[in-house]
């Protein structure tokens, strides 16, 4: 017991010392989704920032919007920066969870204009594309090149895996049905367009062997031969390729999305956190992230710091961006509940 209490006392004094240091130094709390993604953020941005500025960054994990909501509601905010995709940002902002980021706080004029969001700083661009098994469709034989091919079970027979949620799948269905990329959301905005998208998904349904729910599943399913084609998040698909799995990504018609860093309303270390947001939106910083995960930078200026040999796997590189559309966050926010319900019903038919 004495040993234990001595250890306790030492621990307490260390804690107290840490407390006094922290009170005078710069610090903030950064919260993201753990795993390889947060590892990449740490290496690309947090560590260099800490070294350059002497700021102490405490990392937390699982910034579930529901937890932020509970945090803000109960008035005990302990987090500064949280991360999420576009839908999460806008939904959280509507619930009053995030502070608006003004140009005075972070200058975002150098970023791709179509990805700006009042309540979040774009940190990286990722994509939902599809990949096919090169065992099923090897080089030298016909290989799928578009969503129309993804839907073409005569020319490319075999089971498919599709995302178990409608985001990006309805877009893909319309493209497969011949809608031009630029018109996808005009068509999807109408009742007829929605029917058309759902009918197209229904057409493929007998050949969907897996409605995936986690990012690793489509890669695993192609690798194991469970399916011959799947849509999936490009970072995961790329990790499968790096691992030597027999798959190839088709970028034509990819649906790009944006990762954002948000400032929690009432953040206890607001100013130090803002300094970090500025750091992340520098072209040199933006050119670091791809080294750890295959996600692209959010500003054109970053490309001059990224070797051309890497461009082919990054969703925002000029050639790939030309063939992609951006997920329309506003439309989805408006329609998600109805679409998800209809999509669930379709999957259950």
């Amino acid at each position: 017991m004495r040993m234990a209490s001595r250890i306790g006392a030492v621990g307490l004094s260390v804690l107290l010392a840490a407390g006094t240091v922290a009170a005078s130094a710069k610090e903030f709390v950064f919260v993201s989704w753990g795993g390889a993604y947060q590892d990449a953020i740490r290496e690309a941005w947090l560590k260099p920032f800490m070294e350059a500025t002497g700021t102490k960054v405490t990392e937390e994990t699982s910034p579930e919007t529901a937890k932020i909501q509970a945090m803000v509601t109960s008035g005990a905010v302990t987090w500064d920066i949280v991360t999420d995709g576009g839908l999460g940002v806008t939904r959280g902002a509507k619930a009053g969870l995030f502070e608006e980021i003004t140009p005075e706080m972070v200058d975002q004029s150098g970023l791709y204009p179509e990805i700006l969001n009042k309540y979040g700083v774009p940190s990286e661009i990722f994509s939902t594309a599809f990949a096919f098994s090169t065992e099923a469709f090897p080089d030298g034989k016909p290989q799928p090149e578009s969503w129309a091919d993804f839907w073409n079970v005569e020319k490319f027979p075999g089971s498919r895996a599709l995302f178990g949620q409608p985001q990006s799948v309805l877009e893909a269905a319309l493209m497969a049905d011949g809608v031009a990329q630029a018109d996808v959301y005009t068509v999807l905005a109408t009742k007829e367009g929605q029917d058309r998208a759902f009918d197209k998904v229904r057409e493929l349904k007998p050949h969907v062997g897996l409605w995936w729910t986690g990012g690793a599943q489509p890669v695993q399913a192609i690798g194991s031969g469970e399916v011959v084609m799947a849509n999936g998040w490009n970072g995961r698909l790329q990790a499968g390729i790096t691992e030597g799995l027999p798959l190839k990504i088709v970028w034509n018609g990819a649906v790009a999305e944006v990762g954002y860093f948000m400032l929690v309303k009432g953040a206890p270390h607001r100013d130090d956190a803002i300094e970090f947001l500025r750091w992340v939106t520098k072209p040199e910083s933006q050119a670091q992230f791809h080294k750890y995960v295959s996600y692209g930078p959010t500003m054109p200026g970053a490309w001059e710091f990224i070797p051309q040999s890497e461009w082919g796997r990054l969703p925002s590189s000029p050639d790939i961006l030309k063939q992609s559309i951006f997920l329309n966050v506003d439309w989805w926010l408006e329609n998600e509940a109805a679409m998800v319900e209809r999509y669930n019903a379709l999957m259950q038919e």
């Binding site: 699982s62 529901a66 890669v219």
Partner: protein, 565 residues
Amino acid sequence: MTVLAGDEAARPPPSRLPLLPRGAGLAAGLVVLVFAVLFVWPIVRLIATTVFVDARGWTAFATIVSSPMYRTAFTNTFFISGLVTLITLLAAYPIAYFMATVQPRTAKLIAFVVLLPFWTSALVRTTAWMVLLQRRGIVNSLLMNTGITDAPIPLLYNLSGVIIGMVHVLLPFMVLPLYATFLSVDQRLIAAAEGLGAPRFTVLRRIVLPLTAPGAAAGALIVFMSAIGTFITPVLMGGPRQMMIAQAISYHMQKQLDWQMAGALSLVLLAVTLVLFLVYRQVFGLDRLVAADAGVAGDPDGPLRGVLGLGRLPAGIMAVAVGLFLIAPIAMVYPLSISSSPFLQFPPARWTFDWYAKLADDPKWLRAALSSLRVAAEAIALSVILGTAAAVAASRIAPRLRAGMEVLILLPMVVPTIITAIALYSQYAPLGILGSPESLAIGHTILAAPFVFITVSASLKSFDRNLELAALGLGASWSAMFRRIMLPAILPGILAGAVFAFITSFDDVVLSIFLTNSASRTLPRVIYEGIKDDTDPAVVALAAILITISFGAFLLSLLARDRRA
């Protein structure tokens, strides 16, 4: 099943006996207070401040009734839970029977096998099942090579996937209570019946089944209630057609931030479950089941051993089959943990110990493991005290009050964990105790207490009240009687409850996400964060280590027994 409620009414009801009614009332009151403060109040407050803040809260109920999606989800939830309960019941009987009629050492081995699933997290178990069950998986290869089928059978992403996954993880909840009642069967009754010429089937039907029924009823209650709240297994191993209501609630809570809809769905789920529970209680309730007077109990060589006659062989084969079913995915963890592929391809390109090295490199794993053990230890201690006190008190108070108390204590099993998590978070945040392992331990205590309550109540059923009366009559104090007479009798129930408490704490992700921070987060949370969208084979290596440790502990316990003997 002849000695039921009717006969009981003819005897003087035991509750009229002077068995410390005031003490029982006091204990019951305390338990109710603890539950009210730590659980009911936060939930009521959350629901009241989210669902019924405006008119939309009421229309949410109309939406639920009219929407085919929710109707399907509710039907699925109760259908799948019922089916899982039935299958676990059938699978658990032979196992529990053999545990009670083999030598203690073998019984321990069986218990070890039954508890194996809990050393892996839900996500790791699912991954292992995928390797076994997928189209080109091991099971399908076996079936096709042996010519049983020509084409692969779809075992995953459909009803069979969900059932396999859920039965696997819920089976222990059925086996342990059953085993506890098998141990307390008065084997003289069997000997007497056989001596009087009763045929084997009659002995089974009139003696063994009724005497083990409390265990079956307790197990079925636990499995059914747990199945209703299951979340991860149906998502990963089922298809869209198997969507269950916990999934929909979590979606509205976390993705849509629509707490009104989530709260309304939870209330409907709660209402339906409570109705089912009250019906169940009327038919199979612990009250209704016969109280066995334990005499010569727990003797592995007693007449119970021979009760199946030649039927012991098929029953044995079935028990072994169930054992293999439990072990298969766990055994897969070892080869997977040294596979070079982070996407868990099997067989892999090459073998490697990289994932073990990765575990050793990152201190977060050890820290999380220690935090998990600490939280689990605290939760076990608290829930055993709370659950046992509740069970003893409930058995001594008026039957009408008892029904209310049972409902109250079983509530945490029915309320979706995500709702509990957010309610507790909102309650703890202003108090400044968030993030401490203790705040999570309190949460786990609430989740685990119902298990202890059920298992202890079941063993109290077979506790001979005359012993208690005799002890008190001979001048023993109530606490001396409890220590020397009652405690030893209900110990199997307490131990089963403690094991369930450990499992509950060690397998929880949702409460941990809300109530801990990066310093105090538990192992399941770290595992979840590692492979929710990603793949991190380090968690498979970790599972292999945990299984090995539990196996080591098992071997040690055998050695320790040898030395004593």
